[in-house]
Symmetry: C2
Subunit: 308 residues, 2 copies
């Protein structure tokens, strides 16, 4: 099965960094991801530079990536002001965020879910006017820090609203790393039954170690698009035990081990993860940055006795 991976490190991974990453490094990161064979990159965010100075260089990052062939660039476009900026850049996919719960919507965007839907209408319209593709991302689609497990019906209600607005591609965000294989399977079944027109993308965090099990359940349910970040950055990798997105290194390794095609060169992804560790000056959570892929062989004469 051919799997599509969106690299989200330049946006979801870097947006929370306390030390800003240079524009040049962001461009290098995205270019290395593209060189490794990744065909979709969430490159930046048109959020207000006052709210998130880490993303203030959105235009410059996109300008630095404009020459990439065969890569779809995505950017977060939270509101009409962001949309007006995005329209002046070549970014094709405009990602609008919506929370699946009222509490998260209030905490994140100071408005209700219905108000948030109303707020993205003009963004979608402007995207269409500029021949761009509006995309939706549902935050806390599986679980919410304030409300617990998100009921499937609540997420599906939002899917229907977004579909009615003409959205075809929806990212399902496992914002706090609570998605389970069972939830992923039930979501896929509901989408197949009720909204087969939607192209779903799974955006998983590995906070509780479940992400690859949920990827497996997604694959078994026919989902073929996933998001991940090089190094596993995102969330808050510097706090003890916190965890970012599922790492691109680990996801690609897993997919290949399971016999799926990604078109991605794992060794180049790993080299990029190591490069990113150097630039950020810290270890990152991706496991394949620490150990060789399955099938790595040690010469027997170098062996230490290994029991168990």
């Amino acid at each position: 099965m051919k799997i599509s991976i969106t690299e989200v490190a330049p946006r979801d991974g870097l947006q929370g960094m306390s030390n800003p990453v240079s524009t040049a490094d962001k461009i290098t990161l995205a270019r290395r991801a593209a060189a490794a064979g990744i065909r979709r990159i969430e490159a930046t965010s048109f959020v207000s530079p006052r709210a998130m100075p880490q993303m203030a260089d959105a235009e410059d990052v996109l300008a630095g990536l404009a020459s990439l062939d065969n890569v779809t660039l995505e950017a977060l476009v939270p509101n009409i002001r962001g949309a007006e900026r995005a329209a002046l850049t070549p970014v094709n996919d405009w990602v609008c965020f919506i929370s699946a719960t009222e509490s998260h919507s209030q905490a994140n965007t100071n408005c209700s879910v219905d108000e948030a839907l109303t707020r993205i209408e003009p963004v979608i319209e402007l995207a269409r006017n500029h021949a761009r593709t509006p995309v939706a991302a549902i935050a806390v689609a599986f679980g919410c820090p304030f409300e617990g497990v998100t009921p499937l019906e609540q997420t599906m209600k939002l899917v229907k609203s977004l579909s009615a607005m003409g959205i075809q591609r929806i990212k399902f965000g496992d914002t706090i790393g609570t998605a389970t294989p069972r939830q992923v399977k039930r979501l896929a079944q509901a989408l197949n039954a009720q909204n087969p027109e939607i192209d779903p993308v799974l955006h998983l965090h590995n906070t509780r170690g479940l992400s690859l099990a949920s990827v497996l359940a997604g694959l078994q349910s026919g989902i073929t698009s996933f998001e991940s970040s090089i190094g596993g950055i995102g969330g808050c990798p510097f706090a003890p035990g916190a965890s970012g997105n599922v790492a691109t290194e680990d996801l690609v390794h897993f997919l290949h081990a399971e016999g799926h095609e990604t078109g991605i060169d794992l060794s180049q992804v790993i080299e990029t993860g190591k490069w990113l560790e150097e630039r950020l000056g810290c270890s990152l959570p991706a496991r394949l940055l620490r150990v060789g892929p399955i099938g790595t062989v040690t010469p027997l004469n170098n062996a230490k006795r290994a029991r168990g």
Copy 2:
């Protein structure tokens, strides 16, 4: 589905510790596991105390656990000398190790796989004479550090030999953390088709982050017995990126989230993991030691803005 978990921290987890753990702490660890509802504990090893001083107190550990009700105690019994010691203790399940590859067998026990099979024959006989249960553990059942991926046929050949020797319970050891969901599924299918008399136990390491995906594949294939260690100790948890057994905290959390019964109180397992961190003086890899279980709710007024 009711799942059986064997706690292996007292043996597989602690055997590699450079600082020895006191006998009293080992007994406390196993007793806390039992109090949390774990019904099988791999308590110690009758390996030569010269080869592995960490396990020299095998008799004392078992004496300290003799009063536990409704718990099956297991111990590694590598050879006839170990068997003679085990016979003087109350331990019921005697675990014999066999490597699935010639290179690992040579590195680990200085003999061929056939010689290793011959060597465990008298152990099995002595176990029977003392009304104990001989159990086999196949090391490198999925992958070998010296030979790469272990062919399924090679593992199944060993299953047949062990079955012919009267073994019913076999632990399949993912010694270097390379087992994939696909391998687990194929193994389960082969066992069902060729050796349905065997009761399989999956012993997974989380080195490449795949362990819970492989557990999921095992569950889907009818496997209901798994091994794990509190804290995720084992392997070499102190080396960067190394990883021990799948953590009992994370496995139990995952199984409950997927709707399976274990009879285990997750909060007591987590408390035991925290206690173990204190005793060992370091952080352990279990993710549930760092974050709350799925469904944990933060009051909205404590919320920080969380994006993505």
